[in-house]
Subunit: 712 residues, 2 copies
């Protein structure tokens, strides 16, 4: 499975998009995929390595670029901007590498080919294997193989950048370059070591500039010989190992000893095994199969099996969009994929949420609630990293207030939902005992405090929130939030009852002081949570929604606000137009709670009122449409959702992969089209697939066993 | 007169300091002096070209670096960081150029020599003439001659940078590189054109990278031949010419036609003529003569004789310290030098202040005053650009409130003082008619409103200001401010009376509606302004100063707060410790108003209480000490003041030249040591010079005539 791009010129916008699409990562390290042959803003990210930043609290740190390879022919650097070449780049998903082939034909001709990898087994290793074939000329070719320290993070409105690390020491000796850097908040130390290996005779020098250090290897070339160089890089952070400096040297040494061929083989084998295990086939729809694989590839790249816990940022380790923060995207959109394909990652993602319990308890307490209230945006610290406001102009005089941090409280129920989901598919009792139950009880506890009793209605209400649809803030009784809060309370009840039958679980109940009486309260509240309905039997997205100005769009053609007339754009909050699946989101997660005809009526109502401005929308509508038997519509929505990055549908793929849409497309596929579900302790299927999918096959992990799913 | 630096390694801190010291400028363009042979943060500034920035309102824009020259020998770039070379750099003040000589002896040996200029006559032209002599080897040498687009401005606390320009178009054809850029606020367009010329056969290519475009010239070298290349650059902004693009091409073409030799000759001649005209000699003290010349050189570099008006930023066109803003440094510290040495610049500086009258009137009005209240910090816009607060930490959570913009109101009187000073030495009637009178009347008007009548005292008081000493804010009746306000009012009276005798001036009086009655009020207020004195006959820096905790230091040894114990540093505002000359500043400007014995007593009192944390202090104490006959003490203070940048005494020369101290040292010399003064329409002398100054000679311009001053 290969994704290939051809260029005869360098276009920077295109290059930044490819930078994301061709990103290689292994869960620990992410290396952006811009062309290695040109100096360009590009960087390396390490999972969990953040630093302090104005406004956004914490930034995932753009670390130095490691993969640059610059070619000098007879003294003159190759000018790759003005054409005169053919460039072919391939993301080879099967083996997890990026291949680059440059055919240079201006002046002296040569062919440059390389293979780049971010090792999936040796998680601190990056390597670029380059081969140059001069096309029948005699002269001198120099390869410059640098470590580049220019990388920095952008701050809005875009022309400001912040460099999050200082270089403590740069040493180049014995042909090994070793750099020690530290984040400016002093929280992390990182060592990057680099050495290039060739078996051809060459002149070798270390070259230092203020913002780079590198090796220069010069070959006297003649005829059509092949000159091969491998750039080995190791990166280790103090997050990984307290003796990170020593480990970086050790890992580099051992990669070099292994040699490029073996290193590549080991890496490619991991990927081949992974694909074999997944065994995905969508016969009759190569495009969808390919796009699903592309999304799976990038999701699988984000999992670190060796780490204590996994953080899945909204834009992956593929870019600095959303500053590397972690949202509900992780728990609701990607966790189901991981649970079914690589459950160890799903577990580590929830372990990360468990680590945040301290922060969540603190947040609840500060607001006068009991239990745990999760931060809307999270990073490597135990506090919410949602910005409070964001500047709109160059002078930072105009700001927009960001309400999500205060109001988008459904995140807390989303995490409890994810814990239960994970447990349903894995029966991982040990996880529940160590982490899961505590999350479920503490979040249930939060909602029991968060609701208010409305005497007039005789119902519990949740006032002043923002639902998934962020066009409407400060709303009361958001359908999605209330449904999920109820679900969270009921999970509390369910796991309490389960716990009564198990000694190990009982300990958790007593440790947390969950009493029978408290659980009865959860039960009462759950049964009386107000669920807004309008008079015509529709679910109301929030109280008062039905009184808003109505406006409908062709939601299949439109993406974002551009399909709206300006007059509507300027008063969005006064209209029924919504940003993304909200009521329909609840159907996606908890479809069994609703009658099919109700879901259908609501689906048909909300779809033409949704702009899909968020990339979290299409996949959910697709999933629910499939469940409702609207197969053709489902397929149309799904085709868009599954191609969001491959086709750069939102025009911002440059900022990183859309993790939620990659995971969401997989959810549509697995739960929408295939209708996977846990029923009476069995994994059941209820396929509603497009006719032209002649055969669908995939292996998923269910409760420790690999199961083959086949629909023909 | 040459300032020479030798290096055998590149040290970046040293390089940034040299970047300032070796800056070349012509009043329109400033080019920082970092070594051209290495890629390093360095930039080009254009006088008056600012853009919007958070916190600081306007930033002088760091424009692309133009002067880089990178050497590749046999395919490998010269590695200038790890030694193996000798580097000699010379600022040749006589001819206004920087000369660089690199003797490279690692591997293949070569000598690189260059001369760099920023043309003082053709104000849009920069040129670097480079000559390479390989030391008896055969091979290939490539020179890369780029335009580099990485430059950006820093934001505190230091790791944030803001790029103020966008690149609209980069074109390289016919061996000419033309780049159009715009500031992000859309206010200015700039064209930079570049072409390299050599008369030796070479291979020539244009090389483009994302952040640079340049020419690559490759020479097959042998033996000891000399390979010469001149990089010609033209820069024109829309501030300069609406057809700046065309002008840039035209200017480049005409410089190339003239050729390096003639271009250099024309430039060097301007400087030789300037020095001949100045004719400075301090026989017996080469160090002082040299330092005065160094300061004069940088001040003269800042004057643009061809511009409509001149802005002299606090750190020159030498760096982005104080973000290119204009303070009283210009009017009080440098204007006297320009008035006596190059009065056309002094006039244009005041023309700039005239242009700000609109802003000053608006500021006064907003605060409920009449007349004009000048902004403490000014730039290219008609509003105050003083920051309101400045962040102290990386997250921008801790801020320090900046009071100067609201309180340091003496700037208004300082500008009126400068107008009168200029007129005294030039009798430039036309200037007064067009600009000067209006400034004087409008500022007098401001003070007449600004004062409050204190019935108990029967005096006019000025409450809540900050004087030059910024350790004490919100003070009432600051001695310096009150003295200067009084002077400003008296200037109003004086010029009103003069105006009555001249028809042209009378028109201004009537245009502004200045009435006899109003002027009588000025007179009354001036005679009754409260001047704070303590009981022991000392002038009190402000009301209540004498009640503060006393503490004294050895102010000759100390510079800044470091000489203070921590306990004092933490409660500076409660002590008598001051930052810089304040009472003594008034003696410097208006010495004739005070009795010598009073000045002496006060001088002796304030000196041991001054930290000289501001570079604006030493030169003023030196000047007043000289006037008071404390010649030896004066000389000690002066030696420090005159060397502030040459010896990097404040450790921040990297941010740009200390314009106020350069001008202040000249004030000490001219008015302190030589005792120049206008007396009865004559320029009089009252020398109090150190004994070892055997002979002092200088030419100054007085009322249109060049006068030779000689003290033997």
């Amino acid at each position: 499975m290969e994704i290939t791009y051809h260029n005869t010129r360098i276009d920077y916008d295109e290059e930044r998009k490819l930078g994301t699409i061709l990103t290689l990562a292994n869960g620990k390290i992410g290396v952006r995929g811009e062309l290695e042959l040109i100096p360009i803003d590009s960087c390396t990210l390490i999972s969990g390595v953040y630093s302090d930043v104005p406004i956004f609290h914490r930034d995932i740190v753009c670390l130095p670029r490691t993969v640059g390879v610059y070619i000098i022919v007879d003294g003159t650097p190759l000018n790759l901007v003005d054409g005169g070449f053919e460039l072919k780049r391939t993301l080879d998903i099967r083996t997890g590498v990026v291949k680059t082939k440059l055919t240079w034909s201006k002046g002296k001709s040569l062919i440059y080919e390389s293979t780049r990898l971010v090792h999936k087994v040796r998680k601190n290793i990056i390597a670029v294997n380059s081969r140059i074939r001069p096309q029948g000329f005699q002269g001198e070719i120099t390869l410059i193989l640098p470590l580049e320290f220019a990388s920095s993070n952008p701050l809005p409105p875009g022309n400001i950048s912040i460099k999050h690390y200082r270089i403590c020491k740069v040493k180049g000796c014995d042909d090994t370059i070793v750099t020690d850097i530290e984040t400016l908040d002093d929280k992390y130390g990182i060592t990057i070591a680099l050495k290039s290996v060739t078996n051809t005779q060459c002149k070798r020098q270390i070259i230092r500039f203020p913002h780079s250090i590198g090796e220069a290897l010069s070959f006297k070339v003649m005829g059509d010989n092949v000159y091969e160089v491998t750039k080995f890089i190791s990166i280790v952070s103090s997050r990984d190992d307290p003796y990170y400096h020593e480990k970086a040297l050790r890992e580099l040494q051992s990669a070099i000893q292994l040699g490029w061929d073996n290193l590549y083989r080991e890496h490619a084998e991991w990927w081949r095994n992974t694909w074999n295990k997944l065994n995905l086939h969508v016969d009759g729809d190569e495009g969808v199969e390919r796009a699903l694989c592309f999304n799976a590839f990038h999701l699988l790249q984000l999992g670190d099996e060796d780490s204590e816990y996994c953080m899945i940022p909204a834009r992956g380790l593929h870019g600095v969009g959303y500053r590397g923060h972690i949202f509900w995207d992780a728990d609701i959109y990607t966790l189901p994929f991981y649970t079914l394909v690589n459950p160890v990652i799903a577990r580590k993602m929830l372990t990360y949420r468990y680590r945040l319990l301290k922060a969540a308890r603190k947040m609840a307490k500060e607001r006068g609630y009991r239990g745990a209230m999760y931060p809307w945006e999270a990073a490597d610290v135990d506090y919410d990293v949602t910005p409070d406001k964001v500047p709109l102009d160059i002078k930072w005089e105009k700001w927009i207030k960001i309400w999500t941090g205060e109001e988008e409280q459904h995140i807390t129920a989303d995490i409890a939902y994810a814990v239960d989901f994970y447990y349903q598919y894995t029966l991982d009792d040990e996880f529940m005992e160590k982490y899961g139950l505590e999350i479920i009880f503490e979040t249930a506890r939060f909602w029991a405090c968060r609701v208010e009793y409305d005497k007039d209605r005789g119902k519990y209400v949740i006032r002043r929130v923002t639902g998934p649809d962020e066009y409407h803030v400060h709303v009361d009784n958001n359908f999605y939030t209330n449904i999920m809060a109820r679900w969270n309370l009921l999970l509390g009840v369910k796991y309490y009852n389960l716990a009564l039958e198990r000694n190990e679980w009982k300990k958790i109940v007593s440790k947390l002081g969950v009493s029978k009486r408290e659980v009865e309260t959860w039960c009462t509240i759950a049964s009386k949570i107000y669920i807004p309905c309008s008079s015509d039997g529709l679910y109301e997205q929030f109280e008062g929604y039905s009184n808003l100005e109505d406006y409908t769009i062709n939601s299949l053609e439109c993406l974002g606000q551009e399909c709206l007339p300006e007059i509507v754009r300027n008063r969005l909050e006064k209209t029924k137009i919504i940003k993304q699946a909200d009521v329909v989101m609840a159907f996606h997660l908890l479809g069994d709670l609703f009658r099919k005809e109700d879901m259908l009526r609501n689906f048909n109502y909300y779809l033409p009122r949704t702009t899909h401005e968020s990339s979290l929308s299409l996949s959910i509508y697709a999933s629910v449409a499939a469940r409702l038997g609207l197969t053709s519509l489902a397929y149309k929505l799904f085709r868009k959702a599954v191609n969001i990055d491959l086709q750069d549908i939102y025009g911002n793929t440059r900022d990183g992969i859309h993790v939620a849409s990659a995971g969401g497309a997989w959810c549509s596929f697995l739960f929408g089209f295939l209708g996977l579900k846990v029923h009476n302790d069995n994994l059941t299927l209820d396929p509603k697939i497009p006719k032209h999918w002649r055969k669908v096959s995939i292996n998923v992990v269910f409760r420790g066993e690999l199961k083959n799913i086949k629909v023909e």
